[in-house]
Amino acid sequence: MFHDAFLVARKDLIIERRAHVVLGQVSPLGLLILVVFGFAFDANVELLRLGSAGLFWVAVLFTGLLLVQRTFDVETEDGNLDALRLSGFVPQSIFLGKVIGLIVQLFLLEFALIIGLFVLFDVTVVDWLLFLSATVLGTFAFSVCGALFGALASGIRLRSTLLPLLLIPVLAPVLLAGTRAHEVAFGLSSAPGWNWTGLLLVITAVYTSLGLVAFGPLLEDG
């Protein structure tokens, strides 16, 4: 099962290598969003620094949604989902493969956003371990939820407007926890940052289980 998952993820990452969507389009978009936040807050440097954790996760949210969309668009064009169904892969492998592909692409995206954060919002990291753990676990949680709902909303018309509506309420706790943990890591608050990081781990575990169970029925239709 893991071997097949890696095949699916490898395929998605080769697509990315050929198409350069994350590096060429989505990361610049993320940086653009950060700049637009500057406009929204009237270039108030202090305000931007205080809100930097939240703004980072909002930028991740909107660009991440595009990545989730894309990873399933790639399957719905030219009937590729049929080919996946016929491939003999167990649905769980396809789920895990999609998750792994999303995680890698999100890491690339976040790398660009973090640089933007340091440069544009004058952020300094006080607790590197907390910062990295929260980012990694938040990404895992995002990917798992994204893969599940991406499949739920795929292959149906109007999915590009439906996916955000379905996915954001589920991502709300991830955004909340990620932001609170990052605030602590940036030295902006004294909340229990590691507890919030723990919540991210719990969410990841819960949605991984749900995804593994639900992906079979989701893939079966047609």
Partner: protein, 259 residues
């Protein structure tokens, strides 16, 4: 069961196109009567709060609404689970679970909307603003949007069996999400509140207020049940109409052979 019959399927009779039955008429009368009594109790008989004054009467709408909403969404989750376990595509058996899930979710969304609206009005009167980012209202908004999304998913053009299955999966996933959201938001606001002044204390609920609240919950449950039954029946009628269209199309398909 998909059967091809040669006789025309009987048209829905006029009496079948109304969804009321003697049982629902009784329920409607009871609900209406109970609501009148509730008005009396809530506005006149029960006392005003020491601190909040008459504004506290909003409690009798706000709290039972969210209870009814939670109950409805719980019902949606249960019936969705049963649907996944019991649905057999061949015989369309188990489809009633899907209908009930849809009806319950709609009623739930309506009452969540009422909760939000009454909560905002109450907030305006007591805190001076419509929104204070307290845990309860924030969680309720997310609940509202979650199930609006669920209803949007139910309305997509797709094969009914496929759509019902996806909706059922979403209902179960949403049900798991609700406590996660609740816990996160609650913890967030509690941590925040330690650092700031308390926003507004919940009134002490004792005596007459307590009984009025319980009575209100009962009344709201009657009204919600009545709404759900009617909505379920309307869904059933919609499906019967689609079934008729299917029989019609099966006949036409077969008649292609005689050309």
């Amino acid at each position: 069961m998909v059967e091809v019959s040669d006789q025309k399927t009987p048209k829905l009779s006029k009496s079948m196109s109304m969804t009321a039955t003697p049982a629902t008429r009784v329920l409607a009368t009871v609900s209406a009567g109970a609501s009148l009594v509730l008005l009396l109790l809530a506005l006149i008989v029960s006392p005003a709060d020491v601190v909040q004054g008459d504004a506290v009467r909003m409690l009798y709408i706000h709290v039972p609404s969210i209870w009814v909403a939670y109950g409805s969404f719980g019902l949606t989750a249960c019936t969705s689970g049963l649907f996944i376990l019991r649905y057999k595509r061949r015989t369309d058996r188990g489809r009633h679970y899907d209908r009930l899930a849809g009806a319950a979710a709609e009623v739930g969304v309506v009452f969540t909307g009422i909760t939000l609206f009454s909560g905002m009005l109450w907030g305006k009167v007591t805190w001076g603003s419509y929104w204070q980012w307290d845990a309860r209202l924030t969680t309720t908004v997310l609940l509202f949007v979650t199930y609006l999304g669920y209803l949007a998913l139910r309305r997509l053009p797709a094969d009914p069996g496929v759509r019902a299955k996806r909706a059922a999966i979403m209902a179960l996933v949403s049900f798991v999400n609700v406590p996660i959201v609740h816990f996160s938001v609650d913890w967030w606001r509690t941590l925040h509140q330690k650092a700031s002044l308390s926003i507004g204390r919940r009134p002490e609920i004792t005596g007459d207020m307590y009984w009025t609240l319980m009575y209100s919950a009962l009344t709201f449950t009657f009204v919600a049940t009545w709404l759900m039954i009617h909505r379920y029946r309307v869904i059933r009628l919609e499906e019967m109409r689609d079934e008729e269209m299917l029989q019609q199309q099966l006949r036409e398909r077969r008649s292609e052979n005689s050309l």
